[in-house]
């Protein structure tokens, strides 16, 4: 059994989170999937992304939001980091904090207008923060 599945069984908040993430992905056009990472553990705790991604890589990438990229923003006087957009050859991703205990990774469809998606995702990240509360993996 994966760590994600085990964690989901252990805490009712994660069940609610799972339902919320699945519903959000299903209802929003332009979103292919989402992964919620527990911070600072860097462990995926909920996902609507069907394909496998290396959890260690996910941990490293998500940790960069609160560490390296935040430091970079501080050094370059850009204030607190709101989110990171990852633009690749065939797809885009939005990564942002959901409160202080989680990071939300959103995989955006190729043809979607990323900025409206980012706006909606920002609201959803607040909802995730509310669901998770003080949960720490």
């Amino acid at each position: 059994m994966s760590r994600l599945k085990k964690a989901a069984m252990d805490d009712p908040r994660l069940t609610t989170l799972k339902e919320a993430v699945l519903e959000f992905t299903r209802e929003q056009t332009g979103i292919k999937g989402q992964i919620v990472i527990s911070y600072p553990a860097g462990v995926p705790i909920s996902s609507s992304w069907e394909e496998d991604v290396d959890p260690i890589l996910i941990g490293a990438v998500s940790a960069s939001i609160n560490l390296t990229f935040q430091n970079l923003c501080n050094e370059l006087e850009q204030g607190n980091l709101n989110r990171v957009f990852v633009n690749s050859e065939f797809g885009r991703v939005i990564i942002q904090s959901s409160g202080s205990n989680a990071i939300l990774i959103t995989i955006v469809s190729d043809d979607a207008d990323i900025y409206p998606v980012a706006f909606i995702v920002k609201d959803f990240s607040h909802k995730i923060a509310e669901i998770i509360g003080d949960y720490v993996y």
């Binding site: 394909e51 991604v53 290396d54 890589l57 996910i58 490293a60 990438v61 960069s64 560490l67 390296t68 990229f69 430091n71 970079l72 923003c73 050094e75 370059l76 006087e77 850009q78 204030g79 607190n80 980091l81 709101n82 989110r83 990171v84 957009f85 990852v86 633009n87 690749s88 050859e89 065939f90 797809g91 885009r92 991703v93 995989i107 900025y115």
Partner: protein
């Protein structure tokens, strides 16, 4: 191999034609800043972390089947930081204001980034050619050195073989000379030393001296030892060996050579008493 990429014109152009307030070009292999149009100096730690993250995000993109990573855009409270990946070893970081028009920026940057990538590709090709030329030169030098070493080794082996053949050829003559020399020596120690030399020579020339010559040589050896060093059971063995060889002709068969080698060692132990 020196990398002398010059992208100053493009970085100045970014400053002049877009809303970007400043850029830093970093070599992601050395974590060194190559060009900068911002007054801020970034710590080496953060440059190192960025280059590590560049690789992590590249793997992340590929893990999601999004292909190669092109750009990371950091949205801060006070503005944007754009990280452009310029393969294979550069990272361009640009700072934009909070109200930057992202669509215009994207259009403006597209052309400049493409030109930068083009220049980098030319430079990389130059490096590749230089490295290939260096590698070929090294390979050629190594090949020549190996050839020279092989030639010298062959010459040395040939010289040694000739020297040994000469020594072997002269061994029989030398052994007879040494037998006379042994007789001339006054002390037993000196005689034993000469006898050691005789045994060494017999061993050396074991495959070249003929059976006929051995008969003559062993007979004389037995006589010389008897007269000069006294009798020994080994003398009987020497005489018997000479007798056996009188039935042979030409160089000794391998089996006989092995047996004679063993006999010589035995004679040494039994006759020479230093």
């Amino acid at each position: 191999m020196s990398v002398q990429i010059n992208l100053k014109d493009e970085i100045d152009e970014i400053l002049n034609v877009t809303e970007i307030k400043g850029s830093i070009l970093v070599n992601a292999e050395t974590n060194k800043v190559i060009e900068s149009t911002i007054s801020k100096e970034l710590s080496e730690d953060i440059l190192w972390e960025l280059t590590v993250l560049r690789d992590s995000f590249q793997q992340f993109s590929q893990g999601l089947k999004h292909g190669n990573l092109n750009e990371l855009m950091l949205e801060g409270e006070n503005g944007f930081i754009f990280l452009y990946i310029l393969p294979p070893r550069y990272l361009l970081m640009s700072i934009g204001p909070k109200d930057i028009n992202l669509a215009y920026l994207k259009m403006g940057m597209f052309d400049i980034i493409e030109r930068m990538k083009g220049k980098i590709a030319v430079e990389e090709e130059r490096i590749r050619k230089e490295e290939e030329a260096r590698r070929k030169a090294e390979e050629e030098a190594r090949r020549k050195a190996e050839e020279e070493a092989r030639r010298k080794a062959e010459e040395e082996a040939k010289r040694k073989a000739e020297e040994e053949a000469k020594r072997k050829a002269e061994a029989a003559v030398k052994i007879f000379e040494l037998l006379s020399e042994l007789e001339a020596k006054k002390s037993k120690v000196e005689k034993y030393n000469v006898l050691e030399e005789i045994f060494d020579l017999i061993e050396l020339a074991i495959d070249t001296i003929t059976a006929e010559k051995y008969v003559e040589l062993l007979e004389q050896l037995k006589e010389t030892i008897l007269v000069n060093l006294g009798t020994s059971l080994a003398l009987y063995d020497i005489a018997r060996t000479a007798r056996d060889y009188s039935k042979l002709s030409g160089t000794l068969p391998e089996k006989e050579q092995d047996a004679l080698m063993k006999s010589i060692e035995n004679w040494r132990k039994r006759i020479i008493k230093k």
